[in-house]
Structures are given as structure tokens and as C-alpha cells.
């Protein structure tokens, strides 16, 4: 967890938050697996992306990266290396895009916009992973996944807009 360190001292709050949010991604991934399939093949609600967004907002690139790696590791041990690779590509791209816009959009976008960008890039990352594995016409799905991502991203954004101000208020 060296990423949770800050300049001067070991940041216990960031460490604890990263650990809890990583645990949350595991629970949410599991929960998502139990929900019925979306009408679009391969589309996921992206519930776990919710915790990745929270982690990235709270603790920056380091926190987001830790959460992403732990989530991918969990996918490898429960659903196999293919699912793990898909998870890693999706979350990593999503996390980087959300981190970039969180820091450099000068607050032009709302939480909903960040969530939508995260969801779309998550699906894009997964399709790139699928393309790397089997090649061919996986990008056929992209337009459908974008439409689904707009809805799931809005949901993620609304939840985080309620959650993040409350978490930030807590002084540990």
C-alpha cells in the first residue's frame, strides 16, 4: 500500500479508506454477478465502478490504482484470468479518465458527468481487452454499451455526489 503514503507521513485515513473501498468493490462485483443480465450482451451495471470513483476522488491516483488492482486480483481468483484481465483493463482506463477529469476539468462537469465518463471508458477498456483476446468485431457492441453506460454512469455519479461530501466531512 505504498501508494497511500503522503509526502510527510504514512496516511492512516487514506490507507483505511482504500482498504474499505477495495473490500466494497469485491462485494459490489459479487452482487453484480447475482443480478439478472442486462439486455445488452456483456454490459454490466458497473456497481464496482462506484467504489473506484469514490477511491479516486478521495485519495487520487494512488488510492484509485490500489482499489483497481485489488478488484482485478479478486476477479482473477474468482472468475479466472480472462475475467481478471477484462476487469483490469476496464477499471484502469475508467479510473485514469475519471482521475484526469476530476483534477483538470475546473469543476465544469458534475459528479454525473464524471460518472458517465468513467462508465463509458470502463466499457471501452473491456472491449479493448476483449479485442486483445479474441480480435474481430467486438466493437460492434460499443454503441449499445455507450447508451447503457450513460445510465449506469448517471447512477454512479448521483450516488457519489451524495456520498463524497459526507465522507470528506468526517475528520479522523
Amino acid at each position: 500500500m505504498k501508494n497511500s503514503k503522503q509526502k510527510k507521513k504514512f496516511n492512516t485515513t487514506a490507507f483505511a479508506q482504500t482498504a474499505m473501498l477495495s473490500a466494497l468493490t469485491i462485494v459490489l462485483s459479487f452482487l453484480e454477478g447475482m443480478l439478472p443480465e442486462l439486455p445488452v450482451p456483456g454490459a454490466k451495471l458497473g456497481l464496482a465502478n462506484l467504489a473506484v470513483m469514490t477511491a479516486t476522488d478521495l485519495n487520487g491516483l494512488g488510492g484509485g490504482l490500489c482499489t483497481t488492482l485489488i478488484k482485478a486480483f479478486f476477479a482473477v481468483i474468482t472468475r479466472g484470468p480472462v475475467a481478471g484481465f477484462m476487469s483490469l483493463c476496464g477499471s484502469l482506463l475508467s479510473m485514469l479518465v475519471m482521475w484526469f477529469f476530476m483534477n483538470y476539468d475546473r469543476k465544469k462537469l458534475g459528479y454525473v458527468g464524471i460518472g458517465v465518463l468513467g462508465a463509458v471508458s470502463h466499457n471501452l477498456g473491456q472491449l479493448i481487452a476483449a479485442f486483445a483476446i479474441i480480435g474481430g468485431s467486438v466493437f460492434f457492441y460499443l454503441p449499445f454499451l455507450i447508451i447503457v453506460a450513460v445510465f449506469t454512469g448517471t447512477f454512479t455519479g448521483i450516488v457519489n455526489s451524495l456520498l463524497l461530501p459526507a465522507v470528506k466531512k468526517v475528520k479522523v
Binding site: Q6, E37, P41, G42, L58, N59, G60, R79, G80, V82, M86, M102, N103, K107, K108, L109, G110, Y111, V112, G113, I114, V116, L117, V120, A130, I133, I134, G135, G136, S137, V138, F140, Y141, L142, P143, F144, I146, I147, A149, V150, T154, G157, I158, S161, P165, K168
Partner: protein
């Protein structure tokens, strides 16, 4: 770190830019769907690939009735080839995304089974016009 920066201006829940973003994404997606569906044609060919290697092809114009085609490999997949499209009707793989995709009938559409590394695509021979005017 950035928590201090965020105190200066607080991010809003929804801004006008969010709606612009969503509108652009939906427009791009919808137009992409229309472009894909524009390529409809009669001479469809089924191509089954495993790890980007073609293992089965069949022209749908040669298919007069429904036939089940087993696809060998790590998982037992049964592909139903019909005169107007193809569908994976059963698979041993865990997630069943391929089965849930249902029937594909148009050129460019695909069924993908990631666990088995199998992709089933429809590709068209010559594109035909939807309407011929004049």
C-alpha cells in the same frame, strides 16, 4: 492532497456540461447503430473464429433449414445455423453471455464467447441497396 483543492470550489451534482456530454455520447452511439444497420444485405456468411483463427464458415444462402453445428474445444458450444441468421443455443461456459446474445441476423453483428475464445460473426457479400429509386 486534492481534498484541500476541492474546498475552493465544490463540484456540483449535475451541470449543463454533463447534459452536453450525455447528449453527444447518445448521438454518437445512435448514429453508429444506424450506420451498422445500414449494411444489411442478403448474402450473409457465418464465420466462426477461435483465437482469431477461422474454424468454420458457412454461407447462409446454402442453408435451407435449421442445422445444429457443434463447435469443439474447451467448452461444448452448439451453434444453430438458420437461413436468416445464427444463434448459440447452448454452451458449457460459465457466464452464458453468448447464449443470451440470442440470434444475429445482420452483417457485422457478432456473438462472442470470451471463456471459449470463440467469436461468431456474420459478414455480408455484396451490400444491397434498401431502396432503388429511379
Amino acid at each position: 492532497m486534492q481534498n484541500n483543492k476541492n474546498k475552493n470550489t465544490v463540484r456540483k451534482r449535475v451541470t449543463a456540461w454533463d447534459f452536453v456530454l450525455m447528449a453527444v455520447l447518445v448521438c454518437v452511439a445512435v448514429s453508429a447503430i444506424f450506420i451498422q444497420h445500414g449494411n444489411s444485405d442478403e448474402l450473409l456468411e457465418v464465420v466462426v473464429k477461435k483465437d482469431s483463427e477461422i474454424i468454420y464458415t458457412q454461407s447462409l444462402s446454402n442453408v435451407s433449414r435449421e442445422t445444429d453445428v457443434p463447435i469443439d474445444g474447451e467448452y461444448n458450444i452448439i451453434l444453430k445455423v438458420m437461413p436468416d441468421g445464427v444463434q448459440i443455443i447452448s454452451s458449457d461456459c460459465g457466464d452464458k453471455v453468448c447464449v443470451n446474445t440470442g440470434k444475429i441476423t445482420r452483417s457485422g453483428q457478432a456473438i462472442v464467447c470470451l471463456p471459449a475464445h470463440i467469436s461468431v460473426t456474420l459478414r455480408g457479400g455484396e451490400p444491397e441497396a434498401d431502396v432503388i429509386v429511379g
